[in-house]
Assembly symmetry: C2
Homo-oligomer: 201 residues x 2
Amino acid sequence: MAEQVAGPEIQRLIQLLARLPGLGPRSARRAALHLIRKRDELLGPLADALQVARERIITCTACGNVDTRDPCSVCCDARRDAGVLVVVETVADLWALERAAAIRARYHVLGGTLSPLDGVGPKDLNLSTLVERVERDGVREVILAVNATVDGQTTAHYVTDLLAGQKVRVTRLAHGVPVGGELDYLDDGTLAAAMRQRTDF
Amino acid sequence: MAEQVAGPEIQRLIQLLARLPGLGPRSARRAALHLIRKRDELLGPLADALQVARERIITCTACGNVDTRDPCSVCCDARRDAGVLVVVETVADLWALERAAAIRARYHVLGGTLSPLDGVGPKDLNLSTLVERVERDGVREVILAVNATVDGQTTAHYVTDLLAGQKVRVTRLAHGVPVGGELDYLDDGTLAAAMRQRTDF
């Protein structure tokens, strides 16, 4: 074990790095050595960035996004259409939609999906303020941008029921052929959905 | 871009994480979100561990290993045979040999290999103290545990020439069939070497 060679400090660094998604024990060792070799260019700045993140990053109480301010930059952005609310499962999904510049609206991050098998119920998700936001902000449309998985769709149905009493249009993302995708490699369900929801050319 | 969504602090964290070997832009985003979600269990401890590493980890002036003390734990370990010196390219190789408990000896970390094409000459490696160590410590055997690559073998020959004037046995790692390996998948060079260096059963 490396601990006998290099002392507990390096071993601890490796153990923590190995808990990052995408890094295993072997790549964590490589990452630790890389950091030690690049002390001034990488190790120091990363230590500082993590310290800043620890002290300053908070969860937006309005939408569930992470930022250094509350309400977050997205909620505060006056150029966005406050009448449209995009419901996403995670902050990663919010970032993905923003990278795609898919829409200039506000978000509502659920923090996961309903999953009875894993013991995740409505109380475990950021659902309690959703109806309140829709009422208070005069939201016209709620877009369900959840994953096209069983849990995602279960959650979409639950949110739809929750909003049944509101005068709000509930929409969901289109199913279809990915841009750049080849029909031959697509699953039957996607192909059938793309055919049903075909549009004028 | 995520910077418009989540502020420059998170963006900076992602950029630094993406510079770790094994993490690309996408996995760096995932890692950053994972860290933010697990602030107390992971982000904080990792920030601390990096800070400790930044302040305390140094390179052993004797062998080139990294540790929080100089000479390092390996050089200070009296149970090791000081008469045997294992020459390795990198600290990662030193760790690998220690994990395998391959030998209880001391090491000499070159910090790379000679590579004329990349402009790496003898002066760029930790070679100047090698002869001195061999003389001073009464080393009986120098084991060249360098990679079986062209650069590794070039370096091995250079080190051998360097030690030509010393009364020291110079050895190298055996070539052969990896333990658990199948002959059918091995390259011809390895198979031929394994046959030449066959041992009694």
